[in-house]
Amino acid sequence: MQLSRPLQVVGHLVLLIICLSILAPMLIVVSTAIKLPNEVYALSLWPDVPTLQNFAHLFEQTAFGRYTWNTAGTTALRVAGQLALGVLAAYAFARFTFRFRDAIFALVIGAMMIPQVLTMLPNYILMAQLGWFDTWWALVVPNLATPIAIFLLRQHMMSFPSELIDAAQMDGAGHWTTLWRVIVPNLGPALSALTIIIFIDSWNEYFWPLLVTESENSRTIQIGLREFLQDDQDDYGALMAGIIFASVPAIAVFLFFQRRVMDTFVSSGLKG
């Protein structure tokens, strides 16, 4: 679609302003990461003595490599697990009529509204009892049910044409085969969008990992970063170096996939 000329100019102008407002704080982050402690608080964006010592510091002082591995590993497991369980539950809601269906759907969606701060202490005690404390289990399993994924996937499955399903089942395919062979391959855009949502959620999670991890067995990047934030002893140089280190993979993944994600969106589209 071609917008009219004046609208195009306005659009580019507004977007450039927004982009600048996004890049300005990012610039501060990058410049602080290469500053020595006595320049961190100076306004100039390019330090007199640029340094990489903050990055070295990052690995000297914390097990940052391990933290990164824990974050990446649990995030991958969560994305896979949350999508799989979401697909299953959404299929049940979208394609079956059964007793209490609407009530149960309301309960599932209602769970979306229950803030995590509420469930944190009881869940912590449960983790301790299960022996999952300080393991990946504690980071992954309690998060596997994802109401928002169920909600979104159900919408998509409901608008999925029944003829295709009928045809598949005419050929003798059961529910299981139909779901994974016919429906899921066509959910690309929705699954991509959910992947991004879950990925970001898991990558940036802070409170729950803080409670249930205590060593490099399972500590995640976000906890590692806060080790540099302490009343009176903030080490902003290392914090900023850490965030760059932690974000580069995420940004790389996004830049690499955004085209593909967009293309799949373009070819089929995500509909609420």
Binding site: P37, N38, A42, Q61, Y124, I125, D231, D232, Q233
Partner: protein
């Protein structure tokens, strides 16, 4: 099976070592089997120094392992509360001073006097006023560990620019206000500020107590600073705002501005000394002075920071934990911790230790901190209920004071009454 073998091996090894170690560390034989104790802490920049203490202790006690668990200072109390509620192993816990009362009332902390089984000499090492925070009758539930005390930090370059003598920092609140105003008038830079709420209501507490008023009663259930002294101290804070010498901002803003060389004076914890010195290096000359006096009242500064509490259950873990506490309480070790961490020294007469003396000579900025040890009073502790409301009322009181639409004499009594109303469920 392997574990059992290991256990037997280590036990026999340990038995062999008993005779050699018994004289130095005096650990009862029942602590000989390999024991792991869990130490909760919030040290980040100082973690290496803390871990070095543990490593040295482990080397001297090969059958004890010290497991360190980190939680950020803002969250450590919540993490501890959860760990205790879930019955996870907690042997020694770093507890923020103002929360001690909560831990005493709601957890099963161990009395260290009782746990010492008559041999309490190790506790004598600490400055008696530092132990007061954890004292309850004859019992001691907390020992000092990561204490700070508020100091005046000042920028000597700015002093010079403003025509003030960089060797004469303000000794009183009147001088602080006057010099801050001079700095603002002469240089256009921010004059000075006093920390407020980075640790809840700590700033208000220090200012009021130092002016001879009583912030909270001993039980921590009633605010009592609506006296003439308390009101005068807070009126002074309002004057700092109205004079313009103190830009209205947050602790983080002030700290940042001070470190950037944009503010003349800033009063905050001695724990910030290291960071300030690093930020000032090659940029400006840093000065440190004692907390300003209010009128003719003697200096009374509440400690900030955290103490250690004991939770180890009776048996091997308790013995091992006590051994660690005794170890870190020895004067040379405690002093080394103070030097390497930047926290206040904790033991009596620290300068009689030659290493400490050498340190102060090489880093004279720390001398006023040591001088202020004797003026330290225990931080006020809050009860369990209504604390959040009370602290937010006090924070809002500061905002109203600085907005200066009414004098402190009107604002403070109202705030105190509101604080006491919100603390009333504790009776």
């Amino acid at each position: 099976m392997i574990n059992l073998k290991k256990l037997c091996l280590s036990t026999s090894l340990a038995l062999g070592l008993v005779s050699t170690l018994a004289g130095t560390m005096a650990i009862p034989a029942n602590a000989r089997a390999e024991t792991e104790i869990t130490f909760y802490h919030y040290q980040t920049g100082n973690f290496k120094a803390l871990r070095a203490l543990f490593d040295e202790f482990e080397a001297a006690n090969p059958d004890i392992k010290v497991k360190d668990v980190f939680a950020q200072s803002r969250q450590i109390t919540g993490v501890l509360q959860a760990a205790l509620a879930a019955d996870r192993p907690v042997d020694i816990a770093t507890v923020i001073g103002k929360n001690i009362s909560f831990f005493l009332n709601n957890t099963n902390a161990v009395d260290m006097v009782e746990a010492s089984k008559g041999d309490t000499a190790w506790l004598e090492a600490y400055l008696p006023n530092f132990l007061d925070l954890g004292r309850s009758g004859d019992a001691i539930y907390a020992i000092p560990h990561a204490y700070g005390t508020p100091m005046i930090y000042y920028n000597k370059d700015i002093f010079e620019k403003a025509g003030l003598d960089p060797q004469t920092p303000p000794a009183t609140w009147d001088a602080f206000l006057e010099m801050g105003t001079t700095i603002m008038d002469k240089t256009g830079m921010a004059g000075g500020a006093h920390l407020q709420a980075s640790m809840g209501d700590y700033g208000t507490m220090v200012m009021v107590n130092n002016a001879g008023a009583t912030y909270l009663n001993a039980a921590g259930t009633r605010a009592e600073f609506d006296t003439p002294d308390g009101i005068a101290a807070l009126q002074n804070w309002q004057d700092m705002a109205t004079s313009g010498m103190m830009p209205i901002a947050s602790d983080k803003d002030w700290g940042t501005a001070f470190m950037a060389g944009q503010m003349g004076m800033y009063i905050t914890s001695s724990a910030a000394l290291r960071g300030f010195a690093a930020a000032a290096q090659d940029k400006f000359e840093l000065g440190v002075a004692n907390y300003p006096l209010f009128g003719d009242h003697p200096r009374r500064v509440s400690n900030s920071g955290a103490a250690l509490m004991l939770y180890a259950p009776e048996g091997a873990r308790r013995e091992a934990s006590m051994a660690l506490l005794r170890f870190i309480s020895q004067k040379p070790i405690a002093n080394r911790w103070a030097r390497e961490s930047g926290y206040m020294p904790l033991v009596r007469d620290p300068l009689s230790d030659p290493d400490m003396k050498a340190y102060v000579d090489s880093f004279p900025l720390v001398a006023p901190v040591i001088a202020q040890m004797a003026d330290t009073v225990p931080t006020n502790v809050w009860p369990a209920k209504g604390t959040l409301e009370a602290q937010t009322i006090i924070r809002a009181m500061l905002d109203e004071l600085w907005a200066a639409e009414r004098p402190a004499a009107e604002i403070v009594p109202e705030a105190v009454a509101a604080v006491n109303a919100s603390l009333s469920p504790n009776f």
